[in-house]
C-alpha cells in the first residue's frame, strides 16, 4: 500500500488562503484542508473518490472559517 496521486492545490475560502491536499491510499481518497501558514489542519475527509473527499473537506473548512459575528 502506498500513497498515490498526491496533489496540493491552493485556493481561497471565506477570504483565507488554504491548501487542499489529496491522495489515495488503498481504496480511499484522503483530503486535508490546511491553512497556508502554518499549514495546520482545518478539516479532513475521506471518500472513495477524490472529488467527494475534497467536497466534504472543503465544506467543513468553509463552516469553520465562517466569519464570526
Amino acid at each position: 500500500m502506498k500513497a498515490e496521486a498526491y496533489r496540493t492545490i491552493t485556493q481561497e475560502i471565506n477570504g483565507f488562503k488554504v491548501n487542499v491536499t489529496s491522495y489515495k491510499i488503498g481504496e480511499q481518497f484522503y483530503c486535508h484542508v490546511t491553512n497556508v501558514d502554518p499549514d495546520a489542519t482545518i478539516s479532513r475527509a475521506e471518500a472513495v473518490t477524490r472529488g467527494e473527499a475534497e467536497k466534504i473537506a472543503i465544506e467543513k473548512a468553509t463552516e469553520r472559517l465562517k466569519p464570526k459575528n
Binding site: 502506498k2 491510499i25 486535508h32 501558514d37 502554518p38
Partner: protein, 281 residues
C-alpha cells in the same frame, strides 16, 4: 547532509526504508493532524499523539518524567535505542517530540528529513497494521531545563543586547493582524509580538518537498536578521511547537551553542496583563 553542524540528527527516507526493521531503531510518527497516522504509516512505526501523549494533560507543561518513561518503554524504546521521528507538515511535531526527548537526555534521536509528506510523495510503502513493540524499561534523566526558556528569562532577554528573540509565527500573527492562524482557536487577548523580536517564520527553513534547506541557506536566513551564533537565542511561536522546529534547526543544523525554546510563547505573553507588545512589522 548539506554541511550541517550535526548531520547525524537527520536520516533520509531511503535510510528509513532500509532500516525500518532494524531492532536497534524505533520509528515514531508524530503529526499535527493526529488522525494522519491511521491513514497509513511506515511499517513498524509507533504513533504518538501530541495532544494527549507529549504533554502534561492536567497543567500546561511538557510530558512528565514518569509518563515519558512509560511512553518510550511501551514503544519498545530503551536508553540505547535510536529513535527516528517523522511527521506531517515538515516534521513540525516531530521536532516538538525531539525537543522533549532531548530534555530528558535521550542520546540518539533523529528526524527523517522531509517527514511524512516526502514519504507519501515518493510513493513509499505504508501500512495500517498496528505495530507490536516489545516493551522495554526506560530510565529518563532529570529534565534539562536549559533547553527551555521561561517567562522571566524572556523578560530579562528583552533588554539584553546579547540576546535575540525569533518569532517564528506567520507575518500576520507577528504584526498583530490576526490572533491565531485561520481555523485555529484564538488563545490570546492581544496580537503583536515581543518587542525587539525578529520575524522568521519557521517554514522558511524547509524546501518545498519538506526537507531542510542547506546549511548555507539556513545561515543566510537567520544571520541576515541578526540571529547569529554569538547570541543567546530564544525561539517562540504561539504554543511552542513551531518554535521547537526552529530550535532544532538553530541548535543542530547550524550548531548554535545557546538557543532555547520558549514554549509559553504568545499564548502566555499575549495574555499577560501589562506586558509590552509591539505591533506591525
Amino acid at each position: 547532509m548539506a554541511n550541517y553542524a550535526n548531520p547525524d540528527v537527520l536520516v533520509s527516507t531511503d535510510w528509513v526504508e532500509q532500516h525500518k526493521s532494524d531492532p536497534k531503531v524505533v520509528i515514531a510518527e508524530v503529526d499535527v493532524d493526529t488522525n494522519a497516522y491511521n491513514e497509513g504509516h511506515v511499517a513498524g512505526a509507533v504513533g504518538w499523539n501530541w495532544q494527549t501523549q507529549l504533554c502534561d494533560t492536567v497543567r500546561r507543561d511538557v510530558i512528565g518524567k514518569a509518563d515519558l518513561e512509560k511512553l518510550l518503554g511501551s514503544s519498545g524504546i530503551g536508553n540505547d535505542t535510536m529513535v527516528v521521528l517523522y511527521g506531517d507538515n515538515n516534521n513540525w511535531f516531530a521536532a516538538w517530540a525531539l525537543w522533549q526527548l532531548k530534555m530528558y537526555g535521550h542520546k540518539d534521536v533523529r528526524i527523517m528529513n522531509g517527514g511524512r509528506k516526502k514519504w507519501l510523495a515518493e510513493g513509499r510503502p505504508l501500512t495500517k497494521d498496528a505495530p507490536a513493540p516489545k516493551p522495554k524499561t526506560y530510565k529518563a534523566a532529570e529534565r534539562n531545563e536549559s533547553l527551555r526558556a521561561y517567562l522571566r528569562q524572556v523578560q530579562d532577554a528583552m533588554n539584553s543586547p546579547r540576546s535575540v528573540m525569533v518569532d517564528v509565527r506567520s507575518p500576520d500573527e507577528f504584526t498583530g493582524k490576526i490572533l491565531s492562524p485561520p481555523g485555529l482557536p484564538e488563545t490570546c487577548q492581544r496580537g503583536g509580538h515581543i518587542p525587539g523580536a525578529k520575524n522568521i517564520p519557521w517554514g522558511k527553513a524547509c524546501n518545498e518537498d519538506g526537507t531542510f534547506k542547506s546549511a548555507d541557506e539556513l545561515a543566510a536566513l537567520y544571520s541576515g536578521q541578526g540571529v547569529t551564533a554569538d547570541k543567546n537565542v530564544i525561539a517562540y511561536c504561539r504554543i511552542g511547537e513551531r518554535s521547537s522546529h526552529t530550535w532544532f534547526v538553530l541548535k543542530y543544523l547550524l550548531g548554535y551553542p545557546n538557543v532555547v525554546n520558549y514554549d509559553g510563547s504568545w499564548t502566555e505573553w499575549g495574555n499577560l496583563v501589562n506586558a509590552p507588545v509591539e505591533k506591525g512589522a
